[in-house]
Amino acid sequence: MIGGRAGAIVGIVGVGGLGSPVTLALAKAGVGTLVLIDDDVVDRTNLHRQILFREADVGRHKLEAARDAIARVSPRTVVEIQREHLHPGNAGLLSEVDVIVECSDRYAVKFLAADAAQLLRKPLVVGAAIRFIGTALSTGPEGHPCYRCVFEDLPEGAQQRCDVSGVVGPVCGVIGAVQASFVLRILDGRPSYGTLASFDGRAGTLRHRPISARASCPLCGTHPTIDRIEPTRYVSDPCPQ
């Protein structure tokens, strides 16, 4: 049982285009503790969409810049920083949080966070954005449905990559806002589990679809086959910053 916003610990995996609006919204909404996980440095090309950071932050570690930014707008928020990318060897970091918010730009991390959330019995909110589209999904601690009920496994072969495709800043803002609202609904005891939101920035449409649990899901189905974090399961092309 999560004790409301002020007593909550929310883990944010990736503090970039999505993680920035999520972090700001949750801090200003009164979430007590934010655990930020990332290992990147602020690049000038990040600034159009990573709204936590300013020109003067270029070259700084993202988490240090993020901690300063949150201190300016919400000084009572406790910020813990983990200067590392999430990987199979450190997924245990997530065991201490009440809600996991996945905001990275890598398929492998999304599936890793989804598996860790299910195995740790934590609520999960996953977001993704590329060019003009974005999606956000909220799943409960028991799954039914979980991320793998919808997106079964890592894409194989050549996929669109954010380094060549780009990410439109406002799409990150919309999806980050949806993710933050999903988190607040969890903390307020009115979760939207099993909801997939998809935003089309060209059409300006935001749709919410209910998703269903899949009996054959390897993570939360009737005969799950994923019962531990196996490093070889999370191998895909990285998406450079």
């Binding site: 999304k110 590329i130 997106f151 669109q160 495709s165």
Partner: protein, 91 residues
């Protein structure tokens, strides 16, 4: 009756940038995929593999995921909107 297929951004390189494709009276979702391939070669391979719909692709008829209907054999009556929702990374 025409069926409208909404094409997600990652696949629009195959549709000449078109966000929607209108198809004439496909009877099933499988026929939708075949008509898409005829109009825009290469799309079918992005949606299906030898086992069916690719694992990271979701096909919706209206608001319903076809995995919970009759899969590719889901029947269409016309005027439906088909959405393709792929797993995406980025942020």
């Amino acid at each position: 009756m025409p069926v409208i297929v909404r094409i997600p951004t990652p696949l629009r390189t195959l549709t000449g940038g078109n966000e929607e494709v209108s198809l004439e009276a496909p009877a099933t979702v499988r026929a939708v995929v075949d008509q898409l391939e005829a109009k825009h070669p290469g799309l079918k391979d992005r949606l299906l593999d030898e086992k069916g719909v690719r694992k990271f692709i979701n096909l919706y008829v209206g608001e319903e995921d076809i995995r919970f209907l009759e899969g590719l054999d889901t029947k269409l009556t016309g005027n439906e909107q088909i959405s393709i929702v792929p797993a995406i990374a980025g942020g």
